[in-house]
Symmetry: C2
Subunit: 121 residues, 2 copies
């Protein structure tokens, strides 16, 4: 309705940093499993590195917040949200530092997390 | 003090999407000229495309909001803010659609803006 509302349309290829919260996350079967709380951006490159994500208990892990590497999230312009192939088991076994709504991760931690989620299922 | 405060330290290489606001912008002479209002991120790539920036009147253009292409902002880990070579004259002559706190730009507009600021001074 207002211009501000129009700018938050889920079909737009861009999203404002202050409107990221609540973007839907879907599993490999297109089932809604959570929402983005925030993206975390590298200041020098301007690249999103990871997303702090609320899982709503639908994936069987209870209602939990997990840090998810950006490369595990694929924006789907049909679903208007991010798809991920991350499984319940991966979330259950994720490193402790990636659970909950923590302070910013060190480079070492975020690289370890990327390797963890990129590993064999 | 709290973990949440610790996470917003300007020396960390990462920034949370909900803490971007207020990041300082400096001119080529390291004079503070404004602050970031928000970053705008491409959903598919996770790359910041542009920043909506408040100029505080210090650059001689009055207190104005301008959309600035990401490539014109260079994060300076010493200054803890973004440096830019953008001049007062460039801001004065910037395309109308890049002025003020507008809705998300179309790809055509953001590409035109990149070309405008990349052009000869």
């Amino acid at each position: 309705m207002s211009q501000a509302n129009a700018s938050s349309t889920p079909t737009h290829p861009l999203v404002e940093s202050d409107r990221v919260e609540g973007t839907a996350v879907y599993d490999a079967h297109q089932k809604s499993i959570g929402t983005i709380k925030r993206l975390v951006i590298e200041k020098v490159s301007g690249q999103v590195i990871y997303a702090v994500t609320s899982f709503g208990g639908l994936l069987g892990v209870g209602s939990e917040v997990h840090t998810i590497p950006w490369e595990q999230l694929h924006y789907d312009t049909t679903l208007h949200g991010f798809r991920t192939n991350i499984t319940e088991e991966q979330l259950r076994n994720a490193p402790e530092f990636s659970r909950g709504d923590k302070a910013l991760l060190s480079r070492r931690d975020w690289e370890e997390l990327s390797e963890y989620y990129a590993g064999p299922l």
